[in-house]
Amino acid sequence: MKIRAQVSMVFHLDKCIGCHTCSIACKNLWTSRRGTEYMWWNNVETKPGTGYPTLWEDQGKYKGGWKHGKEKPGLLLQGRAAAFMNIFFNPFLPSIDDYYEPWTYSYRDLFDSPHGEDQPVAMPVSEITGKNMEIEAGPNWDDDLGGSYIYAAGDPNMKAVTEEERRQMFELERMIFFYLPRICNHCLNPGCLAACPAGAIYKRAEDGIVLVGQDKCRAWRMCVSGCPYKKVYYNWETGKSEKCILCYPRQETGQPPACFHSCVGRIRYLGMLLYDADRIEQTAALPGSGLVKGFREIVLDPFDPGVIKKAGEDGVPEQAIKAAQASPVYKYLVKWKLALPLHPEFRTIPMLFYVPSLLPVTASVRNGLYEPADEFFGALENTRVPAAYLASLFTAGDSSEIVAVNKKLYAVRLFKRAQSVGDVDRKKLDRLLEEAQTTPEEIEEIYQMTSLAAYRERFAVPPFMREQAIEAMEDPAARKGDAGAGFISKMKRGW
């Protein structure tokens, strides 16, 4: 056993309102430079949908993540020797069109145009070439188009649902969608890192944040392909790959990442987890149905005296252990078993977990009044977004996990309704609690963390242990505009 600490995250999808505040916070902070315009380290996509970059989940196309087989661990992308064959041309690299060509408008024309008959217009101008362009796609082009035949129907997860379910999903009056905010998962077994020929990417030992060493990156672009979540982006201007840094300069001053801080729906939680680094390989090799459970098991109980002792021996500082004990992520993931990993079958062991949305399928509007469905047990298995769809997203196809989470979420909801409105049948409620394997105490705790938790409860930012951080710097924002985070000197593309 080798214990390490990892900053990890939970996004509660039921609470996301799709406002994109998070994306903008991130963009303004980190990716407003030339070469990064097209990058959205944080993006919010509509599900069902094809996402950003288009069809990122389709590993037949992009070859991200790990192979699953009996042999030694290997990337889906290529073997080690093959990396040298493909280094001149990466056959699985998304092109700018798979994201979108960034543009601005020629606003100057509005002011500078000579006097004339026509109203001057601001034409779209490519931020890459500086030429006028036709806009064909943009960030969140498919926003809210959850029922569309182009975007929703193209969603790779739709393969998991039956024809009948599919038909129902596209019925106008049943149509449903939800938002999926995505950032880098700061995985335990990152595909990006494993794919980097130059060895430029690394995991910070003190908090597990995955970073691209900018001085070591040589633009081999394998990380872009190796990450199944497409969360490493190639900066075409500087010739370096960049990715979400989980706002480590903010964390080092005690603040949560900007996207967490600014989240309007307060859907985001951040906290430390202690895990057993010796079990990474074994966990990543689990069969599909065992992955979610395996992910929970690799995380260790921060209250267990044995774990605390061993963690200390392995060099995890006391403050980090304390942070792990206060972690809301530990509660959602291990204690309540409500949070699930996104596409665990990519086997990178992502450290961002999602509480799937309990879509309002079990309620209806009768006589203008919002009514919960009478027969909620049946309804839970027959939700408007089929469990198979969510299972394809969050549990490697295991619908029973989804149903279990849904039951608990529903139990919380009905329990609180019984308390505040009082129109829930006591017997039914007891049965639901039993089926959801929960107790009134646990429900109160979940309710508290989900609905009422204050800033410091949601974000248990581990105290920054300055003596442990390589990246400690004088002013992380000194070169923000031209180089990015943490550069002391001006950085420019080479000759």
């Binding site: 390490r4 661990p73 080690r80 020797a81 990396a83 040298f84 280094i87 001149f88 041309f89 990466n90 056959p91 690299l93 998304p94 092109s95 700018i96 490519s126 890459i128 070439t129 500086g130 030429k131 077994n189 990152p190 890192l193 494993a194 980097c196 020929p197 130059a198 060895g199 990417i201 690394y202 995991k203 910070r204 030992a205 003190e206 900018q214 001085d215 990156c217 040589r218 633009a219 081999w220 672009r221 190639y234 075409w236 201007e237 500087t238 010739g239 370096k240 990474i280 060099g315 003596e467 442990q468 951080a469 390589i470 180089a483 950085m491 420019k492 593309r493 080479g494 000759w495």
Partner: protein
Amino acid sequence: MADGIYFVVFPYLAFFFAVFGGVYRFNARRYTFSSSSSQLLENRALFWGSVPWHYGIILILLAHLIPIIHAPLWIWLHREPLRMFFFELAGAALGFLTLLGIFVLIARRIFNPGARAVTTAMDWVLLAALALQVLAGFYITFFYRWGSAWYVYTAVPWLRSLVSLNPHMEYITPLPWVLRLHAVNAFVIIGLFPFTRLVHVVSVPFSYLWRPYQIDIGYKKSREEGQPEGEGISRRNFFLKAVIGTLSAVSGLILLVPYIKAIISPAPLKKTEWSKVGDISSIMPQQPKAMNFEMESVEAYMHHMALRSVWVVKESGGELKVFSPICPHLGCHYRWDPGTGHFECPCHGSVFSITGTVLGGPAPRPLDTLPFRIENNILYVKWERFEVGIPQKVRI
């Protein structure tokens, strides 16, 4: 004078720029070390450009490098006509590949707006230099045949003389202008190395073959050990590296000794001895005969039995002459044409009389005679080799 600048001063200067510029850029501006790929912006043409270009140029560079490192091996490889033919063909094919590659690479940077947007001034300079180099190389392949054979006797000794700090440009100066251009432009490219994206060629990520998949870097141990701790770079790996390192160092040393000797004196190490050629009683006057014989040759650290041949000429007076079969121009094997009664070289058309004097063509000096003696009608010769392409007869 000008030649001295092109073929001695400039190569050293370019090398100096490459090394010091490269080291400086790596230390002072490491962030700019990148292959600066534009694949994200232009994906289709890149395949047809980058892949043939890189595969072609790497193999071609190797073919240029091996004879410099170990000429005897290369000479030995070219001893069989069939193998020589293979090299000629492979060279032409690879040349075509690189030509196609660089053409596509340039075209996409001109015509694709995305690729053009990320093309710097130095990129154009580099592309121009590379295109010129490939074009010249391609031209040489077709108009100066058997380049892989005579390269060893022209550019190689020149380059080796540069390496051994004892520059002899006379190997290269008499060559046609395309070859001289090819040689000088090679050093232009070397000089451009630190000022362009070419720096990526020294970033071949070999360690990817053995490094662990995952890398964790913490600062914890750095205070005790003086450098960041790489937990992923485990002891096992260090051990592996140490073993590989030691092995290559030892084998390198073993190989190095003959190399150094060869550099100091590129001639075969073993002193030439009398080799038995054969019975000459049947040779008719005025009818040159090619006689084959075997001799043991020792070149650097390779011992092997080599098949040699010499031209034996009995003059009308009964006097004997033995010619080395190597054309003094650029080292092809000439032949006897009984029709004209001349020796003729097929490569560049030098013509020699039966006494070895030059009658025409680019050959700079008469055919080289070899020392011989005769015992009981059996001919013995002392096999010797001479520099080609120069007017003086200089033993190698």
